[in-house]
């Protein structure tokens, strides 16, 4: 039995559910709309026991062999306490869990996660986190062109600064992360278990995710990356306690690879739709791995 927890209108959730259903795999889908009425009685211990019940299914926790966790916004009231029970199951169940909740927390703090990435042996850009305008000025003067981005996991638009020094006084109102600009091509690699899917991204804007906002195009294509790099990215994902990740990289003209971020809950359909890479199929394979006779 596979448990899927996430909103029905979330493309990665919707696609994973569709593929599993098409394969005839038994699953229970807990959509955000049913959280407030979810019934459950779960005891957490070395192995969790008990049950959860939606309007039409009652499932024993020890039946769960795979769990896909991609919840939406945290809801108040009974939905919040039901979320706590589901998080407890996802944390402790002896199942294939994509991904364990605690494993995703490093993404709450980008500079903290960057330390983990560097400790795993990847090259990361020179980084400054500061509220000091003078330090920001000095960093910009040293590198000539820098990127600034949020410190937290709250999504922000990545932008560059080159000579626009008038704006740096604003860092005095809250921490800002600056990074040396790396000239090169963006590559997103999705790791699923021990497989990887690399996508080359071509765009003229600083943050390709928001290219349409600026009226720019984004071209994406499946690409091959060196086998040794792919294995290292699988290792990085595992080191962070994850089974699935979306890793942002940039490769320079000199074939130097920089690693920026590991996303523990990637919206992979954006890339899958553009490249045809079977990422959702791979996630379904992974989730089904714990089922008998699969």
């Amino acid at each position: 039995m596979i448990l899927i927890w996430g909103p029905s209108d979330d493309p990665p959730v919707e696609r994973t559910v569709s593929i599993l259903r098409a394969r005839g795999i038994d699953l229970v889908h807990v959509d955000e709309s049913v959280l407030a009425t979810l019934r459950y009685d779960v005891t957490l211990g070395a192995t969790p026991t008990g049950w959860i019940e939606t309007s039409d299914r009652k499932v024993r926790v020890d039946e769960l062999t795979g769990i896909y966790v991609r919840p939406g916004e945290l809801l108040p009231g009974p939905a919040r306490t039901a979320s706590t029970a589901l998080l407890g199951i996802a944390s402790c169940a002896p199942a294939i869990v994509v991904n364990r909740p605690s494993a995703g927390r490093s993404n709450w703090s980008k500079p903290f996660q960057l330390r983990l990435i560097a400790a795993a042996g990847f090259t990361v850009p020179d980084t400054l986190v500061t509220t000091d305008p003078a330090a920001a000025h000095a960093f910009l003067a040293e590198h000539k062109r820098v990127v600034y981005k949020s410190v937290s996991g709250v999504r922000s638009i990545v932008a560059t600064l080159s000579a626009d020094t008038d704006r740096l006084h604003a860092v005095g109102t809250g921490p800002v992360q600056f990074q040396r600009w790396i000239d090169g091509g963006d590559v997103r690699v999705h790791v699923v278990g021990d497989r990887w899917f690399a996508t080359a991204i071509d765009s003229v804007v600083d943050d390709y995710r928001y290219a349409s906002r600026d009226g720019a195009d984004v071209a994406m294509a499946a690409m091959e990356i060196p086998n040794e790099l792919g294995k290292r990215l699988v290792g990085l994902t595992q080191r962070m306690g994850l089974l699935v990740s979306g890793i942002d990289l940039r490769v320079t003209e000199n074939n130097e690879w920089f690693c920026f971020e590991v996303n523990p809950s990637p919206g992979f359909t954006f890339y899958e739709d553009a490249t045809g890479q079977p990422i959702a199929e791979a996630i379904a394979d992974l989730l089904a791995r714990g089922l008998p006779n699969v």
């Binding site: 709450w108 703090s109 903290f112 020179d126 410190v151």
Partner: protein, 223 residues
Amino acid sequence: MIVVIGSRHDSVAAALIDAWPDAALCSAEDLTQPGWVWRPDSPLSPRWVINSEVVDDKDITGVFVRRSAVYPEEFLSTHPDDRSYLAAEAHAFLIFVLAATRAVVVNPVADGALGEEAIRPERWIPAAGEAGLSVSPLRLTSRRRRPRQLHPIVVEVVGDEAFGSAPVRSTAAALRMARQLDLLWATVVFDGRHRLLTITSARPPGTEAVGALGRLLAAPLRA
């Protein structure tokens, strides 16, 4: 210098600062003041802002964490629309600083979380199993339940020391759990059947624990 990470409205934090020599509060407001400079791999000492003053990281011996999060409500002078974002940014920055400082941090960041978030049941339940301790079942249910009658046994742990009037068996188990979780300070609670009930760092430390924490946090750093 000892830094207490907490809220200006936290009376426990204020009492600890009074109890420890050369201790000061680093508040949510400080996290958004000009002066912080953190650049990994730089030969220059990183800089904090503590009680509105800029302090070099090398001058800080210990950090005591009295919060699990930075809250939007702590930024009343910020426009309400921006408070949640600023709180998330300050929280993320604090996690990075606590993970990167050369000072002793009580308790260290774990799994990208701090304070009580770093000692969640999903972390201590498996650790208890590895340490050979039985765990009092933690039941989560949508059904109404009568509250359990508890007869808790409480042990305070600071480094390698334990405080309280608990039996030796409980004291040894508490020290083992703290080591297993890399905790330098914790209150470990057992039920009447000697099963682990919970671990927390939020409970105010007792007098003996305050003294031990002060010694631990003020000790000179090894080169």
